[in-house]
């Protein structure tokens, strides 16, 4: 192919996109107008229009009129939407994205800034850091703009005084340091008069750093992640006659004919046998940024959302994701809400299971919170019913660019994926004030106690373990409490007298209740032979309690005898053994009865799982908050 597969700057003549951000009235539009004028980048029509507009309103040249091309904007005196302007500096192409300063228009800024190679943060030297300065700086970090240049505008208001200007610069530097942003330069300037924009200011001889134009020339051209591991998110699959083409744009890395790739979560492998094109010679290789159409052999199942990747460098997998959201919906984000998480072309149903920390914009500190306000930032945990394939988000990279969409396919927030959520990584642990209902709303299921009673050998422990395993696989936290385990620890002091058996049941029920209230699905496997004992347990656990009778004929249980207890009892080694002394009282009206004499283990386990799954659905009062 004729295009070189490299980031060789000589080969890549694409203009460098830059974004201009900053608090309202700190001078963004003026800066752009002045920059374009001083660098001879104005089309005659634009300058004429600006001059005419300024004259019409009885003003001198208002540089910002160049950009405020909508009638309504000019009348309000503010820019309401991102504007793009191409310009050149010494033959190098740039595209300016002018982002608005008004809070409610943040989404326009993101739209402009997400693809930028660099940002110019404009700060009024006299006013210093303001709310939108912090908000925009935070966003620059979260959307991954790799380079930041700060213009300390209106230096004339500080009389170009080095001490006062440096103090303002220090305040800014401290803010950016908190966000792990190292600015390329902090430039004291007067955009209106052109000081340190294209030409060095004679009024600030003490300043030795670059002018804005020099700093812009120092920005790296945007790099395509060619050297990363291959990631090709599948957009679609086309058929033409017998041939099938897998199409998409390479997100990172490169591919070549003969390469083996892995497809999506399924893990099937295939070989690239052709790269199809129209009206161009078919290439033998392709790299990040290119849209391709591949022929794969063998014809494995491929669908939109699958990611083709290099077998040697697989992406991460997790069902619970730690993400850092920037929230764009007018209503706050709350725990328990469901969305679709888009990652490249994949779309996963997810639920917000925790708000781990909310950023307080006044000082950028992490605070506990139960909602994320519009245009707010927060660390949240997302849970998905299936495994999500992802690469962690990093500045300037293509991986982990999660976006949340609602049921109407509207984009409601950005959710850069930081990594798999660890179970106890909440910065602010939930305290006792969190109710069972809140937990249920948060997790999407409610904690409960499933009390499996039945003869020894009926299959209680086997079924409990199977249910636990399957619930866990579905992302539900389940735990088994069985008699033997409890008697080896918590209840080690108890024997088998009637009183001690009662106490054994009481403690087990108390522990089960605590765990269920903490949101766990608790499966108790305990003979609990007397109806009175089980009634006591139900009183303790309240409406979280479900009695499940694992029934089987005594003869069958004795034939199974998994622990050899029947044999010992028959020999007289074991006294008061429930299996043989006839003392087991069959429940009258269990919430569920499973006859393991007739059902296979798999059938019984499936019925138990279905029962548990329906019983832990949050009730209406738990889904609303």
């Amino acid at each position: 192919m004729n295009a070189p597969l490299s980031n060789d700057p000589a080969a890549a003549a694409a203009p460098t996109p830059i974004v201009i951000v900053g608090h309202v009235d700190h001078g963004k539009s003026t800066l752009i107008g002045r920059l374009l004028f001083d660098t001879d980048n104005l089309q005659d029509g634009r300058l004429d229009a600006a001059l005419a507009s300024s004259r019409k309103r009885g003003l001198g040249i208002e540089w910002s009129f160049l950009l405020d091309s909508l009638q309504a904007e000019r009348d309000q005196g503010v820019t309401i939407d991102a504007t793009r302007l191409p310009f050149t500096l010494a033959g190098r192409g740039f595209v300016i994205v002018d982002a608005p300063g008004h809070r409610q228009f943040l989404r326009n800024m993101i739209t402009g800034a997400a693809g930028a190679a660099g940002a110019v943060l404009v700060v009024d030297a006299a006013e210093g850091v303001r709310e939108q300065t912090r908000r925009h700086a935070m966003l620059l970090r979260l959307i991954g703009v790799p380079e930041v240049i700060v213009v300390l505008n209106k230096a004339d208001l500080l009389a170009f005084d080095p001490t006062r200007t440096n103090a303002a610069a220090a305040e800014l530097g401290a803010l950016l340091a908190r966000l792990e942003i190292t600015p390329r330069a902090i430039i004291p300037a007067s955009a209106r008069d052109g000081d340190n924009i294209a030409t060095r200011s004679t009024r600030m001889p003490w300043y030795n750093g670059p002018t804005l134009v020099e700093a812009l020339m120092g920005l790296s051209a945007p790099l395509l992640p060619v050297s990363g591991p291959l990631r090709l998110p599948v957009q679609d699959v086309y058929r033409q006659g017998e041939r099938r083409f897998v199409v998409g744009r390479i997100e990172s890395g490169r591919l070549a004919l003969g390469d083996t790739v892995v497809i999506g979560a399924g893990g099937h492998r295939a070989v690239i046998t052709a790269i199809e094109t129209w009206n161009a010679p078919a290439p033998e290789a392709a790299c990040a940024g290119q849209s391709v159409a591949l022929v794969l052999e063998p014809e494995v199942v491929v669908a939109r959302g699958d990611i083709l990747y290099d077998p040697a460098h697989p992406p991460e997998r997790a069902m619970r994701l730690a993400t850092r959201v920037f929230w764009l919906r007018q209503e706050p984000l709350r725990v328990g809400e469901s969305f679709h998480l888009r990652l490249a072309t994949a779309e996963y149903p997810v639920r917000v299971t925790a708000i781990d920390a909310v950023v307080r914009i006044e000082d950028l500190s992490a605070q506990p919170g139960d909602e994320v306000p519009p245009e707010g930032f927060a660390d949240i945990t997302l849970a998905c019913a299936e495994e999500v394939l992802f690469d962690a988000f990093r500045s300037g990279g293509a991986g982990g660019r999660g976006v949340l969409v609602d049921g109407y396919q509207r984009i409601v927030g950005g959710a850069p994926v930081l990594g798999p959520a660890r179970r106890h990584d909440a910065i602010f642990p939930l305290d006792a004030a969190v109710s069972h209902a809140q937990r249920a709303a948060a997790k999407g299921y409610r904690g409960a106690v499933f009390w499996l009673t039945g003869l020894p050998g009926a299959g209680k422990s086997t079924l409990a373990r199977q249910a636990e395993q399957q619930l866990f696989a579905e992302g539900i936290d389940a735990v088994v409490l069985d008699g033997d385990t409890l008697r080896s620890g918590l209840n080690a002091d108890l024997g088998f007298s009637p009183r001690e058996r009662e106490e054994n049941v009481r403690r087990t029920a108390e522990v089960a209740r605590l765990m269920a209230e903490a949101g766990l699905v608790v499966i108790v496997a305990l003979i609990s032979p007397q109806a009175a004992m089980r009634a006591a347990a139900r009183r303790i656990a309240g409406d979280l309690f479900f009695e499940v009778h694992i029934a089987a004929d005594a003869a069958i249980c004795e034939a199974r005898d998994p622990k050899g207890l029947y044999a010992r009892a028959r020999k007289g080694d074991l006294r008061g053994f429930t299996g043989t002394d006839g003392s087991y009282e069959v429940p009258n009206a269990p919430d569920l009865g499973l006859d393991t004499g007739r059902l296979s283990i798999a059938e019984a386990a499936a019925l138990l799982l279905a029962f548990i799954s329906s019983a832990i659905v949050p009730v209406a009062s738990e889904t609303r908050r």
């Binding site: 295009a3 070189p4 597969l5 080969a11 890549a12 003549a13 694409a14 203009p15 104005l42 089309q43 005659d44 029509g45 634009r46 507009s53 091309s69 909508l70 009638q71 309401i80 939407d81 991102a82 504007t83 793009r84 302007l85 191409p86 989404r107 326009n108 993101i110 739209t111 997400a114 693809g115 959307i143 957009q235 679609d236 086309y238 033409q240 083409f245 199409v247 744009r249 199809e276 094109t277 129209w278 009206n279 161009a280 790299c287 940024g289 290119q290 849209s291 159409a293 939109r304 764009l328 888009r342 490249a344 660019r401 976006v403 969409v405 109407y408 396919q409 509207r410 984009i411 950005g414």
Partner: protein, 264 residues
Amino acid sequence: MTDLDQLESQSIFILREAYQRLKPLAMLWSLGKDSNVCLWLARKAFLGQVPFPVMHVDTGKKFPEMYEFRTRYAAEWGLDLIIGTCPPVEEIDPSLPPAARSAARKTAGLAALIERHRLAGVIAGIRRDEQATRAKERVFSPRGASHRWDVRNQPPEFWDQFAAPIEAGAHVRVHPLLAWREVDIWRYIARENIPVVDLYFARNGQRYRSLGDQDITFPVASEAATVEEIIAELYATREPERAGRAMDHEAEDAFERLRTAGYL
């Protein structure tokens, strides 16, 4: 990758997203240079055959050369061509200035086509650098049931995630060429050898830089008679592209009003 390779790949990505997400979909073909490039990119994206109809909203006032071009290439490229008509100017908002009122016929014709074919997506070859109002566009630009463009309430669009909201009677305008500049269009026409209407090339010291209706489009002074000469001219010029389009210049807000009402 060169900058043209990157623009081409991005446009192909957008066209494939549109085809995957918006059904039924159609592409507008104004017969101008941008829409020819857009069509060419669709042929690349779908490996030769455009899998959706191509619509020409015909005001009946185009140049004869444009109609010849339409007939020839619709057949040569195997296009599923739909031709829509426009209502007479008397039926258009009389408060618009004369040229804008004439141009607004096209908005009405387009609306009729969208409704008749119940389109969910309409691909249009507009570019940000053409006109300040177009600079504010999204790649996926949702239009409500009235087809109006709500410039103050546009969806966020980042990381190549495009919103296609579900709403009865609504459609999405898809703009694959938004990031292209006028000179990029001509460089790509040169690279790919894409045919264009002859009116773009100078005759007797004049050429059309932008093509619309005969009565409201005017040639500019130029000696550029080949694609290469046009590229050289564009690198040197300081004249805006749409200087010859009358409706842009009648009043400060004329073009914005046209666009808000659904004009391209």
